[in-house]
């Protein structure tokens, strides 16, 4: 009983962090008057569990050699990553207001040379997973314990290079690699189904040889369980967590709407969105 209450407290805390992430995402995109809210919001719960529980990192020592690596292969949703980094103390909170502004460490897409906590520059879709494979391979060869987490978009997996990277991860038995697919079903032009049907991504990753889990990407307990499984099971297969998500999650008028892929909210929309998130709707 006491343990259950404890667990609930952890879940509650992570849910609160996810809310903070969502607010920060919208604040920075609103301030920048550009950016990608939809996919940032769909990944917020996953990222909350990663940055506030799972990842072994040291915000005061961002280049710590033994740190877990995180690769945001879908680099355009960097507002969610920047929010995590700010809330974890990699840089002061007020830096988030400089998103996409001249001279900012918070470039329109992640820049590892400017922003502490960014392990690799990304932004061109399909490429991040290959770099994550390189990092995981280096860990194996050097017999280091760190793991590599890579967030991939579902639309992004239309890129052939994603599958080149997966086959390499399988060949080299990179069970220290955890691929998370933000399966929100929408992309820039329309739904994935209309633009380029993906089929069942879990089946695809399984066929390539990954250990696949399917979860609700907005359920903190399910996300935690999936990460726990990946932590405990090191059977020589790379892990893939297909997280079913809702693009724009947490803001009613953004949910499931393609147009919020890359559109900033105006003042009124921003106010409404923040209210909704704070109200916990």
């Amino acid at each position: 009983m006491i343990q259950n209450e404890k667990k609930d407290a952890v879940v509650q805390k992570l849910e609160t962090q996810a809310k903070e992430l969502r607010k920060t995402i919208l604040t920075m995109i609103h301030e920048a008057k550009s950016g990608h809210p939809g996919g940032s919001l769909s990944a917020a719960d996953i990222m909350a569990v990663l940055y506030f529980e799972e990842l072994q990192v040291r915000p005061q020592d961002p280049h710590w050699e033994e740190r877990d690596r995180f690769v945001l292969s879908k680099g355009h949703v960097c507002p969610v990553l920047y929010s995590c980094l700010a809330l974890r103390g990699y840089f002061p909170m007020d830096v988030v207001k400089t998103l996409r502004k001249e001279g900012s460490m918070l470039q329109g897409h992640p820049d590892m040379k400017r922003c502490p906590g960014v392990d690799i520059s990304t932004g061109s879709l399909g490429q991040g997973l290959s770099t994550a494979v390189g990092m995981a391979l280096a860990a194996k060869r050097d017999e280091r314990k760190y793991r590599v987490f890579c967030l991939v978009g579902d639309g992004e997996s239309q890129e052939g290079q994603i599958w080149e990277a997966v086959q390499t991860a399988v060949k080299y038995q990179l069970d220290n690699l955890i691929i998370i697919v933000d399966n929100n079903g929408l992309q820039n032009d329309n739904t994935c189904e209309v633009v380029m049907p993906l089929g069942d991504l879990g089946v695809k990753f399984e066929a390539f040889g990954c250990s696949v889990q399917r979860i609700d990407g907005h359920s903190i307990p399910e996300i935690r369980t999936a990460f726990g499984f990946a932590r405990e099971h090191r059977g020589g297969k790379p892990h893939c967590i297909v997280a079913k998500t809702v693009k724009g999650k947490g803001v009613s008028f953004m949910e499931h709407v393609v147009a919020w892929h890359g559109t900033p909210p105006n003042d009124e929309q921003y106010g409404t969105a923040i209210q909704e998130i704070e109200g916990g709707v």
């Binding site: 490429q127 290959s130 494979v133 390189g134 391979l137």
Partner: protein, 313 residues
């Protein structure tokens, strides 16, 4: 004609990478299924823990190398020039050059040298394409010994992205193993006062022959090996403008955006002499003997000599 006393520059790469791997266990080779042709076999046998083969998936090989580099490795992604410069070009730009990572792209079969393979395998645009990307260093060695030395220089104490172009066939020795080379510094093969010839890669040996003929005719020739096309040795070009009456560039590369263009960019800004460019005439090759492909593009000793005579008239 004498038989060629020489070796292919790709053989030098195969040897140099082993020497690098021995000295530094962070030196990696990332092969893309053409390791046999690119001479990485000895490295693979000697250092299996520093060796990766991604198969026929160059783009992934480049990204993987970038990931390795963030963990302190010095990967040499190895493939043919046509793939290493173009199939994985955007990966080089995004994951190697933009974050300025210590990744080397080592490519055999540059220029027309895979002659009988035809146009699909002849990388005639590589140097130009890659020199356009910020942070990239671009090198095309002219013989076995310089290739060996420049690979070692690129992998030992030269931080950052480097593209190295090797070629398939044996090329004559121009240097000895005691010659030293510095990335970004042209090698002066001869000083002269009438005309400067600037070249690199396999074509340099033809320029040596052309120089000998010109000297026989009483013409004083300054001959430069511009093995590093970027960053180009600006001082060496300025010296050539000051010391001689004209510059001829000769390259096994498309006439657009290669060595001739790089030299002309400097000359156009400061003036002082004319530049004549000899190179591939903005056309694809075909399956044919290497010599024939060069002839069809006027990349011949005769044409170098005639061009020099014409410029000095």
């Amino acid at each position: 004609m004498d038989t060629i006393q020489g070796l292919p520059t790709r053989d030098a790469y195969g040897k140099a990478i082993v020497a690098l791997g021995e000295k530094n266990r962070n030196v990696y080779v990332v092969d893309c299924d053409i390791g046999k042709s690119c001479k990485t076999g000895e490295f693979m046998q000697t250092f299996p823990q520093q060796y990766v083969n991604v198969g026929i998936a160059e783009q992934n090989g480049c990204g993987l190398a970038a990931g390795l580099a963030t963990c302190g490795k010095i990967p040499f992604v190895t493939t043919y020039a046509v793939f290493g410069s173009m199939r994985m070009l955007e990966q080089i730009r995004q994951e190697v050059c933009y974050p300025n990572l210590n990744v080397k792209i080592a490519c055999s079969h540059g220029g027309f040298t895979p002659a009988n393979d035809g146009a699909s395998h002849q990388g005639i645009e590589d140097l130009g394409v890659l020199r356009t990307i910020p942070n990239m260093t671009v090198i095309a060695p002219a013989d076995y010994h310089s290739a060996y030395a420049l690979v070692k220089a690129a992998g030992a104490d030269y931080y950052g992205p480097v593209y190295l172009r090797f070629t398939r066939d044996a090329v004559p020795f121009i240097y000895s193993e005691d010659d030293t080379f510095e990335i970004g510094k042209a090698k002066v093969l001869s000083e002269g006062s009438d005309i400067t010839i600037i070249s690199n890669g396999d074509i340099l040996s033809r320029c040596v022959a052309a120089k000998d003929r010109l000297v026989e005719s009483g013409i004083s020739v300054r001959l430069l090996d511009m093995h590093t096309i970027k960053p180009i040795d600006r001082e060496a070009v300025l010296d050539s403008i000051a010391k001689t009456r004209g510059i001829i560039t000769v390259e096994d590369h498309n006439i657009i955006n290669g060595l001739g263009s790089a030299v002309s960019e400097i000359v156009a800004e400061v003036g002082g002499c004319r530049v004549s460019r000899i190179g591939i005439q903005d056309q694809f090759g075909e399956s044919a003997p290497y010599e024939r492909l060069l002839e069809k593009n006027f990349i011949t000793v005769d044409n170098i000599v005639e061009t020099a005579m014409r410029m000095l008239k």
